[in-house]
Amino acid sequence: MPGWHAATQEFEADGRLLNVGLIQEQHPDRARLYLQWQGIEWPIMIDSLNRLDVNVVPITLLIDENGIIRKRVGRGDTRKIVEEFLAQPAPAAIPGNDAVAGHDPAIWGDAAQRDVVIDALEKRLAANPDDGRAAFELGVLYRRRYDEAGGDPADFERAVARWGRSVAVDPNQYIWRRRIQQYGPRLEKPYPFYDWVPTAREEIRARGEIPAELIAEPGGAEIAQPIRSFDAALPANGEPDPEGKTLRDEAKFVVAHATVVPHRVRPGKSARVHVEFRPRGEQAHWNNEAGGMTLWIDPPDGWQVDRQRVERPNPPEPVSHEPRRIEFEVQVPDGAGSVQLPVYALYYVCLGEKGACLYRRQDFGVAVTVAP
């Protein structure tokens, strides 16, 4: 888009051409930051549910005065293509293409209405499991709900499962596939997705502007670089609690939830595991003055992980309450079946204003569903 912006600024300035953008991204606010960074002020339409049924990006269409598509632009000299288009005389006016109101309450603002839409879509999907569009839209809505403050981590898992269903129905719908790739393993990624965000913010601040705020900070899978072969960890550099002597978090002061992307992994392929830890209720919180969180993964024979021991440093404030996310990748051996991947976490959790701070261990299994 920056190329187009530069090549067509002159035609925009004299009013002969209007550039309009249309985005399918899960997080439109990230496109807002991108456009601010690039200094692009086009009107932008948001289609996160992909109701226009776009199958690929980017696409540039030249559209005439009546809303008729005149050209789908391929490679070539942008300036020359635009000049040819601008030289075409305006066609005689034809009656309008009735605009269907599509302002989407399910995405924008109204949580109660969004839940009603989710419910209706779930019924549609239950009635027809091959309704890939219903599955995709559900994924978008669940992830949206997850990204809002206090979101239920199970919603992310639901989103991944529904997106998985949509792509199983239509493997060639690339906009649907991108949603899984955004959170999935590095081997399956076409590009990093959102690694440009820190640079954009830095350059916007250097211009004396305030970068547009983001609803959800991109991290982990969303900024990781793609790889071409699985990056297996060397044998462990020391299990943190080999004898299992650390007291268990029996009361579950911290709630752990794991989401595996994709939802079903093929033998021989890899998956990305997103583990989220939340202090339970108002009383429990993190103590950041003690050590950070440690995660230990013990893959079964033949399985590989990209990290076996993960250390998560603490934020600077002495206490905090945020959800903590740790991601790692797992490579499924050929011919393997589903497993419960044994994992444990070690952390300091505190109770109440002046309550005790405890060092605890929590063991859990990450269910990796393997299906050919």
Binding site: L17, L33, L62, I63, R72, G102, H103
Partner: protein, 67 residues
């Protein structure tokens, strides 16, 4: 309840199927075809936009992603 509120509620109920239903434009984005007249939310938070809002102008429409 005022008449204005009743009218407003009635409009919301009538518009509901449009908002909740499987709205989509199935048309191919191919030369010679009208661009689908679906109104979509605007990134600037203003009123929804559709191709009809740009009628009478020559447009370059870019379907893109920030990644």
């Amino acid at each position: 309840m005022s008449i204005r509120m009743i009218l407003c509620l009635a409009m919301m109920v009538l518009a509901w199927p449009l908002m909740a239903g499987p709205l989509r434009a199935s048309a191919e984005l191919a030369p010679g075809q009208p661009f689908p007249g679906l109104a979509l939310p605007s990134l600037d938070g203003g009123k929804p936009l559709s191709i009809e809002d740009f009628r009478g102008r020559k447009i370059a429409l870019h379907v893109f992603a920030s990644w």
